[in-house]
């Protein structure tokens, strides 16, 4: 934060726009470069969370899957806080066998 930002905040003014421009650009370029539209990204995000939550209990509210870009390389970054590992669930075959056996 710069001195100007502090003064702007104290006076209740809008912060300088250059930083807003940079952040908006970085976001839009990450999408442009990966050629993923927002719906596709949303769908991928849901599916990733679904897969991961089969193995560990994750904090869905805190979890985030985003595109980040640096030096013209775009990366998919998943930040998924784990509450705890799930106990291995009985496999479908195992439960079937139990049924047959009983």
């Amino acid at each position: 934060m710069t001195l100007r930002d502090v003064i702007n905040k104290l006076l209740g003014r809008q912060p300088a726009s250059a930083n807003t421009a940079k952040e908006r650009l970085q976001l839009v370029l990450a999408h442009d470069r990966s050629d993923l539209n927002p719906e596709l990204l949303q769908q991928m995000r849901r599916e990733i969370l679904e897969v991961v939550s089969r193995y560990v209990e994750i904090d869905i509210e805190e979890g985030d899957v985003t595109l980040e870009t640096e030096d013209r390389v775009t990366a998919l970054v998943a930040n998924l806080p784990i509450r705890r590992a799930k106990l291995p669930a009985p496999s479908p075959e195992a439960s079937l066998e139990t049924k047959v056996g009983s």
Binding site: T2, K22, Q26, D32
Partner: protein, 272 residues
Amino acid sequence: MAAASTRYILICSGKGGVGKTTLTANLGIALAKQGARTAVLDADFGLRNLDLLLGLENRIVYTAQEVLSESCRLEQALVKHKQEPNLALLPAGNPRMLEWLTPDDMQKIAAMLGEHFDYVLIDAPAGIEGGFKNAMAAAREAIVVTTPEVSAVRDADRVIGLLNSEGVKPIQLVLNRVRPKMMANQEMLAVSDVTDILALPLLGLVLEDEQVIVSTNRGEPLTLNGNGSPAAHAYTNVARRLQGEDVPLIDPSKERQGLRAKIGRLMQTKIF
């Protein structure tokens, strides 16, 4: 003559109106003044303007179209600049050329120019469609022009993606229409913001300069008469860097002197 050492440079931006044609005209004159035999090729067939900025619009007899259809020789179509005979323009033909022109045609024209010139500067059209792809086919390296505005930077990024996928390199950046005061107030993207986002080396930094409009009114590029305006200086330096000279870039924050500028710099310091 020395076709192997000829440099074929595409001047492009994606977005229109950021200063491609102005850069092409000024760079052409500056290189010619420095002794390099330079051809400028107007590849914007739809909306040609390079002739107008160079003040050569009344001297066009033939264009790239007649050269390609072999109804004239290359030498007949080239328009030599009166004051700067090292510079010649190959004018764009009729907009209807867009219907049949191919990347091969552009390569053919560029190769013909390469036999007579050290530099072939190709003024690309705005956009990323067919016309741009034709122009790109004629180039080996590129200069991307942009301004510190979100739309111009975004479009530049698209163009850089296309240049990368075609193997055009090096790609260098010219940042145009920089306003030091707005940058100091953090109301304009900083130079480092743009170079970081686009990940390109900076070949030149041109300050916003009213003289550019005056020069286009007259059809005399600023680099022609060296009137000492900031933009003229910047364009000349771009040419010198292209030639391999090590010329330091200006620092926009140092362009402003006095107490106000000092306070401005103080306000920019990070405190936490």
